[in-house]
Symmetry: C2
Subunit: 527 residues, 2 copies
């Protein structure tokens, strides 16, 4: 059977590649029939040339054009929901309900529509005018964006439909998508709709393109290519770090989401107050979707005591009793199993699970481990090894000071949660814990689990390295996420007729701008 075609230069083409791969049904542990190509460098370079041409073609287009494409695409995804959900379920084993159909697909459609809204609204560009000096600047599209999608969100972070895609397009950039090898069929269907939407809304050929896989060497060549403006990457720390090193060496902006164990701190008072409720919330959050979320709580911190012991026993029992979910694939299982072994090797005790198996298809027992604060401090790096999936490590600190010492050794994370008592008994310690945790995490939560990542204007799905590559940016949350895919462009003494529309004296779109030191939606005042 011929391999599936790649989307390059506005058409579905036979790949020039000779190697292929297949996706895999994690429930049945069998290959799915379709073969997908590994694109050779010549093909990637052709795609880059088309992307560069598309980028030049849409230069100075009004935001309305990108918004119209995003909305048309959203509508098309909505219309193809049945097909998309079926193939995503087959490729990922993620449940149709409540996940793919009820949550992830609507969220994906919503993201595209929000991106359209904020593209039109335009404040993300921070258009700034100094009329006396006739100096004007704004954020402008950075150029073609390569998006590398992860395995765990076949829709919402898909390379050709997810958050990075939506943000890159909202900024006015073409996207060259590198689909994740675990769900190529889902990505192909999305790309079909993206291409039809692009045609219908008059986008140039090469505005949306899709390849399925590259060699590691070609992935590196891709990210440093001069035609490329920036990269969005969500995935493993090892692969992402390699791409980051390459991109950094040529000063190419690369936005990565790499690794996060999302510490949850249960302060002593709240453990005394409602241990059972905490155990229930935590087990639910950790085991949901077999724990395959970037914001899965992989590290629990508590202070030693009988209430803590009882809570941990309760959590372990819940882990043992809960059904074991199917993982996204063999790669996830191997990574999870290796992570658990690393934790054990460095002194973690297994309280529940600990081994592959226990459910249907590719799976791993729900696994709870624990370690003392002292042991953690003896090997803080190894004991922060990410065990991506349905596993968590509990660190039991001897006292508040040891808890704070553990926090001081944490790497950067996407999230950090602090649960405290409602009677005020934890408040003094809260302040110390929050002061230590705040600089380590992108999102600080109170009394709730981190696994819900609302598509909110105020969301930060980001954080210090190694959670991401730069703590100033977020991958989720509009309009902020759009700014990643932009460069600052200044016009000094440029003739009025040559200025971008959004920097001219007239402001017919009513965009918020900083004019002569004041934020305003008005025209520049006539002298």
């Amino acid at each position: 059977m011929a391999a599936q075609r790649v989307l390059i230069g506005g058409e579905w083409r036979d790949s020039q590649g000779t190697k292929t791969f297949t996706a895999f049904d994690p429930k049945t542990k069998t290959a799915i029939a379709d073969a997908y190509p590994v694109s050779p460098w010549s093909e990637i370079e052709t795609a880059l040339q088309h992307a560069a041409a598309a980028s030049r073609a849409v230069r100075n287009w009004p935001a309305e054009r990108f918004a119209a494409f995003l909305e048309e695409y959203a509508t098309r995804i909505e219309a193809r929901a049945v097909d998309l959900i079926a193939i995503a379920h087959q490729e990922t084993a993620l449940p149709v309900t409540p996940r793919l159909k009820d949550a992830e697909l609507p969220r994906t459609i919503n993201q595209l529509r929000q991106a359209a809204h904020w593209a039109r609204e335009g404040s993300w560009a921070t258009a700034t005018i100094d009329s006396a000096a006739n100096i004007r600047s704004q954020l402008e599209p950075i150029g073609p964006v390569a998006v590398f999608g992860p395995n765990n969100f076949p829709f919402a972070f898909n390379s050709i439909a997810g958050g990075d895609f939506a943000a890159a397009v909202a900024a006015g950039n073409p996207v060259l998508a590198k689909g994740h090898s675990s769900h190529p069929g889902t990505t192909r269907l999305l790309a079909e709709e993206a291409q039809l939407a692009a045609q219908k809304t008059g986008m140039p050929a090469g505005f949306v393109q899709l390849i399925y896989r590259t060699s590691h060497a070609d992935g590196t060549k891709l990210v440093v290519h001069p035609a490329l403006g920036a990269i969005g990457y969500t995935g493993s720390r090892s692969a992402g770090t390699q791409l980051k090193t390459a991109a950094d060496a040529v000063g190419k902006p690369i936005y990565l989401e790499l690794s996060s164990i999302n510490p949850v701190v249960f302060l002593p008072g709240v453990v005394t107050q409602k241990a059972a409720e905490l155990a229930e919330q935590f087990a639910g959050s950790c085991l949901m979707g077999a724990g395959q979320f970037c914001t899965n709580p992989g590290l629990v911190l508590a202070v030693a005591g009988s209430a803590t012991d009882a809570m941990i026993t309760d959590i372990a029992q819940r882990f043992t009793a809960a059904p074991v979910g199917t993982l996204l694939g063999e790669g996830v299982l191997q990574h999870l199993s290796a992570g658990v072994q690393t934790l054990v090797k460095h002194g973690a005790k297994v309280l529940s699970g600990g081994h592959p198996g226990g459910g249907m298809g590719v799976c791993h027992q729900n696994t709870l481990l624990s370690v003392t604060g002292k042991d953690f401090l003896a090997a803080p790096e190894a004991l922060q090894t990410e065990a991506f999936g349905n596993a968590s490590l509990v660190v039991i600190a001897a006292d508040a000071d040891e808890l704070l010492a553990v926090l001081d050794h944490l790497e950067g994370n996407l999230t950090g949660c602090i649960y405290s008592a409602t009677d005020g008994s934890d408040d003094a310690l809260y302040d110390r814990v929050a002061a230590a945790l705040r600089p380590k995490v992108g999102r600080l939560l109170n009394d709730k689990m981190p696994t819900g990542v609302a598509v909110s204007t105020a969301m930060n799905h980001g954080g210090p390295f190694p959670a991401t590559g730069h703590p100033g940016f977020t991958a989720v949350g509009l309009p902020a996420a759009i700014k990643r895919f932009a460069r600052l462009a200044c016009y000094d003494g440029v003739h009025p007729g040559r200025l971008p529309a959004t920097l001219q004296d007239k402001n017919p779109t009513g965009t918020l701008r900083l004019v002569d030191g004041k934020w305003t939606t008005a025209d520049v005042a006539t002298k």
Copy 2:
């Protein structure tokens, strides 16, 4: 004689270092008496600890505190102008008038006051509130900032008084300054005033600190240290690239200004129209301050023809006739001389100058070189070698297409200028040239030279690599420059009393915030 002391932890201390260095008067080519220490690692680490403590101490301080410090410091610099100008003149040979006294010192004071204004104004933090979900986020201080100052602006880019310092403090961060070795006395006097201002305005010990020099190895250890939030660096491409590689590997934000040759394009019509005026403007811009500006026009592009030939002859004559300025030091001379030799080696013809000497003290002849477009395209990388100082390379393209081909081979630059005829004869070509140049430069100019960098809200002193490390940020221009020294901090379900003041429902400072999808200075509406 004992070495000058370093400023660490709120006091002037004898350095623990055993090595010292002296500054150098470029006019007399003699060492200046004072010895300055090379700080050993133990001393740098002590400074980092104090910086971290200061960062924790000022956490959640209102912007007013940082603004008050910046204003007090500005006033103190103003009062000490005579001393500062005298020592800066001795150490750099930059003229007192019109440079140090009339331009650079007032600009430096102005920058500090502008930083105070924008710190108070607060919009840079893009405070964002989703009241329904109770998710709130803003940019917050990133932590202690190490600032490495350059040789060429002893005041305006000084590590403890310049643009990076002002922006880092406006964001709420302590600064650990690494002064440039060519003007340690100037830096010391500024640091004295900074420390007095810090004491007067109640800043914690370690909020402003100064060391003069480190080993290369210790510089690298400094930038990757966990206590450090970010780095601002202005200087040579080689040293900056080494620091960038180290910082990137640990995901530490580093903002660099490295290298720029600032192409100036003279379109054919304008050359015909006013060659003499162009020659005068260009020679003035290139030779001003012995060409030692980041935005010095080091590359001129024109299309072959008799008017171009005449203009180039005119420029060469002006270069030969103009007085030769004194350079900042031997390092600059060596770098300039090596740059000129590299250009010659790759086919550039010397039209004027070409050798060291020709004036007072450390100096190099005003140097104009030329090369054909064809020759440029044969060695585009070597022929973009920065010859920092009073030297420029003219590229004479055979025709418009070759001009565009040359532009396509340019690296990233801070600025790019296009001069065009007033009669419209260049307009069609302008569009093609601007489309090619725009993505390569941070600031695009029309009909003016790039050497003036106005401290304007709309300024972009930035651009694609290797001009800087990230094209989305600017080193000059407030409030934008402040954002570099911040990280995005989200609060999800955090109790009202635990929120930073700027994210609470009430907005007594009237800061512009994005509340429930609308930009407003109002309080969050009561439900």
